[in-house]
């Protein structure tokens, strides 16, 4: 880290020291906002098995951010503009079957490569921007302005409010599209709305973890929570908690070390995921052991 600070290992003193710098306060504010939004959206993304769409959106955001820097505006605007536009494009692609994106993987893969290439071109055109590509790809928490924090907060509040309105029918349409259609749930419109919200969440997460590591906040907390519990309410709460923990830890450690914040957030999230899978397998082995003793009662015809 440029300040070459070293931790006192007293959390209160360390926090006080970190938060004496306005950029660090903004980083924590932004990280908190992003962790909540990305966690909640990530839970739905894992439920809908649309991780590939999330990955595509993050790569589409990269040329947006690089282009924004090139023309001299904040990278945030580039992320949001490209991710939201990308979400609408993915939504407009003809779908092969209900819930399936596999058929378009060739199209999406082509778009992903082109997006990365464009991003690299923009970074190269902006000659004085040596450290820029690392920051865009692997995350950077330096120089988040108060205005950007406000933008992140407003977008997150709007996204979460929209999700609070469509949450239950969206879950229905994700788990059981055929039955939801029969019950007059607007499955197609919900799918479009979800992709737009996912675009917003991806744009936010990209600004903390970088384009290539968005899954650290978008997939890992949700996947970790779903491994631990199958109750939707608990899983959502756990997702947000894990997201907040890894973000705060990642920011704190990155402050005292010379490595990018995305690396630490991703590593902590990965460690949590591995631990959760271990817990899950131990539990299911334990359950398999007990069901042999007491078999589930079978229902018999009257």
């Amino acid at each position: 880290m440029i300040f070459a600070a070293s931790p006192s290992w007293n959390p209160i003193i360390d926090l006080q020291e970190m938060w004496s710098f306005p950029f660090m306060v903004n980083a924590f504010r932004a990280g908190t906002i992003v962790a909540v939004l990305a966690g909640v959206m990530g839970w739905f993304m894992v439920l809908r098995r649309q991780s590939f769409a999330g990955h595509t959106l993050s790569l589409i955001g990269f040329p947006g951010a690089a282009g924004a820097v090139l023309i001299g505006v904040a990278a945030s605007y580039g992320y949001f503009a490209f991710c939201l536009a990308g979400a609408l494009v993915i939504a407009a692609l003809p779908r092969a079957g209900p819930g399936g994106y596999s058929e378009e993987s060739a199209v999406t893969g082509t778009v992903q490569s082109f997006a990365l290439a464009c991003g690299f071109l923009f970074v190269a055109l902006y000659k004085g921007f040596l450290n820029g590509i690392n920051a865009l790809l692997f995350g950077n928490f330096l120089g988040i302005s108060t205005g950007q924090v406000t933008l992140l907060g407003v977008v997150a509040a709007l996204s979460l409010a929209a999700l609070a309105v469509i949450g239950r029918p969206l879950a229905f349409a994700s788990i059981d599209p055929d039955v939801a259609t029969a019950r007059n749930v607007p499955v197609r419109a919900l799918s479009v709305a979800f992709l737009v919200l996912l675009g917003a969440a991806t744009a936010e997460a990209s600004q903390i973890t970088g384009t290539l590591l968005v899954f650290a906040l978008l997939v890992m907390p949700a996947a970790t929570a779903q491994a631990l519990t199958a109750r939707p309410g608990r899983a959502l709460a756990l997702t947000v908690t894990i997201g907040l923990l890894v973000t705060w830890l990642g920011l704190s450690v990155a402050y005292y070390t010379p490595f990018p914040v995305g690396f630490f957030v991703t590593s902590f999230a990965f460690a949590g995921y591995v631990a959760a899978q271990g817990v899950r397998h131990t539990r299911s082995r334990w359950r398999a052991g007990t069901t042999e003793v007491s078999p589930t009662p079978t229902w018999t015809a009257p």
Binding site: P169, D178, A180, R183, N184
Partner: protein, 306 residues
């Protein structure tokens, strides 16, 4: 279990949104009427001149070879596909207008093994999944705490009704096909529908489970006077429970009691090729010379043969 005992509300506060309709609230007229109905799919006429009236509490099987439009009939009743001729009335209105009173079980499809959602949550979606907003926890007092407790109680009730309480709290992706099917039937039953549309619900089940699920559906049909339309490709597991068979074939359709429709002369007339129906000693029907088999679709056993 009678419809009345099912109606007992745990909170002692009757709630029309979740409590099943009492028998006297069941529709008096026919549940479904099809008049000279004809349907096309992909420019091909599947069936035409179909006349069908189904009353409350009637158990109807839709049989026939593949591609003849059995699932399409379900789509027509749901209002997802318009007729090109004739008229369809469902629950005294145009099709698609009263879908919240229809329990629908699509052709399945089992849940992805990685789906980490409890069976209980799947059942609950059948009750309130179409409503906007987010589900609040059951203990949350305001707003609508009573209705929420009633919803939770109703979910518990249908889970018990289908005998799924032992595994309702496990992730649905980890359950067997039969267990998933029971939970899906509970989901379809949760809003106390007047009509159940079941598309090959026995397809993925082993023989004992087929018999048990068929008996369960028949019991619900009788006890709660729910009209049931079941698409099936093997009539034997449901034969003893059926009131009516709708036999669709490329050359026309026959409607009547199973013993009227599933006979050699009727099927011979329907398919225009000699068909014989034998009755095994256990009452199972065996169809010989089935046209589908002649067309080389032997891998899909339309009729279970001994």
């Amino acid at each position: 279990m009678t419809a009345h005992s099912l109606n007992s509300d745990v909170d002692q506060q009757p709630s029309n949104t979740v409590a099943p309709r009492k028998e006297e609230q069941r529709p008096v007229g026919p549940v479904i009427t099809l008049c000279d109905a004809a349907v096309e799919r992909g420019g091909r006429r599947l069936w035409s001149g179909l006349n069908l009236t189904i009353a409350a509490g009637e158990f109807v099987a839709v049989l026939g070879p593949n591609g003849v439009g059995k699932s399409t009939l379900i789509q027509v009743i749901l209002g997802a596909l318009p007729l090109i001729e004739g008229e369809v009335r469902v629950l005294a209105g145009p099709a698609g207008r009263a879908n919240e009173r229809i329990g629908y079980l699509p052709q399945r499809r089992s849940f992805d093994p990685s789906l980490r959602v409890r069976g209980r949550d799947i059942v609950r979606l059948g009750l309130d999944g179409h409503r906007w907003g987010l589900p609040l926890p059951a203990w949350w007092p305001w707003p609508g705490g009573t209705a929420r407790r009633a919803t939770t109680a109703r979910v518990e009730e249908v889970i018990n009704l289908v005998g799924a309480s032992a595994y309702a709290d496990r992730p649905v992706g980890e359950l067997s096909g039969g267990e998933q099917q029971r939970l899906l039937i509970a989901q379809a039953l949760a809003p106390a529908p007047d009509l159940l549309l079941l598309d090959e619900p026995l397809d993925s089940l082993d023989l004992p489970n087929q018999a048990a699920v068929a008996a369960l559906i028949a019991r619900i049909c009788r006890a709660q006077r729910v009209a049931v339309i079941m698409v099936a490709h093997d009539v034997n597991p449901i034969l003893s429970h059926l009131d009516t068979v709708v036999y669709l074939a490329p050359g026309g359709s026959k409607i009547g009691s199973p013993r009227e429709v599933i006979t050699g002369p009727t099927l011979t007339e329907l398919f225009g090729t000699p068909i014989e129906v034998l009755t095994a000693s256990d009452g199972r029907l065996v169809v010989i010379g089935h046209p589908e088999r002649c067309q080389g679709h032997a891998e899909r056993h339309t009729w279970q043969e001994p």
